[in-house]
């Protein structure tokens, strides 16, 4: 099992390097601005009629994502109820 641990360490090291590489290449505090976000900040009050721009993004500009988020929650609730349902007598299959 020694070689497996070494392999694990190598994999983790490579992934760590590649996930930490962005922190060396991106500059914190001055993001790239191609106009999308500044446009939202400048015009969000007019278009979405909100003072909190994040609210405007969540419920208007990207409202469809929020619907998707609610669906994920719905999915998880259905999944959990499916797991803890009362099962019939001979429903379960004996896997061999």
């Amino acid at each position: 099992m020694k070689s497996k641990e070494i392999l694990t360490a190598i994999i983790i090291a490579v992934l760590a390097a590649s996930l930490l590489l962005p922190s060396a290449l991106m500059v914190f505090g001055s993001p790239q601005n191609d106009g999308m976000d500044s446009y939202m900040i400048d015009n969000g009050q007019d278009i979405a009629a909100v003072n909190n721009i994040v609210t405007g993004v969540v419920f208007d500009f990207r409202g469809f994502d929020t619907l998707g988020e609610a669906l994920v929650l719905f999915t998880a609730v259905l999944g959990v109820t499916l797991m803890f349902r009362r099962m019939k007598e001979d429903e379960e299959y004996e896997y061999e």
Binding site: I10, I11, I12, V14, L15
Partner: protein
């Protein structure tokens, strides 16, 4: 007609309708041969019983060749290969995650290192 149904693969073509016609002709032929079979065959009589030189018929379950018996020779011939391959499917979640991350690490090296080589 022949042009419409022909599949062009870029190098040649293949016409499934001819195949289909051959298929249907083969089935009709088989049906024809079957029709000419023994006319005194009667269902439910002793004719339908298997004839095993007068010996008693074994249990139905023993006659049937089960799935596990098939390709025994194949898997036995490739035993070395299967002995290496099957244990990889260990069923342990941690191993599966490691395989996923391992492939990701390899591809990461290939793609990021591609500029250096």
């Amino acid at each position: 007609m022949a042009v419409i149904e022909t599949l062009n693969t870029g190098f040649g073509s293949w016409n499934p309708l001819i195949w289909l016609a051959a298929f249907i002709i083969a089935i009709i032929l088989a049906w024809f041969i079957w029709l000419r079979g023994e006319s005194d065959y009667r269902k439910g009589t002793e004719q339908t019983k298997p004839f095993i030189s007068g010996n008693a018929e074994p249990e139905k379950g023993e006659v049937h060749v089960r799935g596990g018996n098939m390709y025994w020779g194949f898997t036995n011939a490739l035993e070395d290969y299967y002995e290496r391959l099957v244990p990889l499917h260990s069923g342990i979640l941690t191993d599966y995650i490691l395989w996923f991350l391992g492939v990701m690490a390899i591809v990461m090296i290939l793609v990021l290192g591609g500029g250096l080589i």
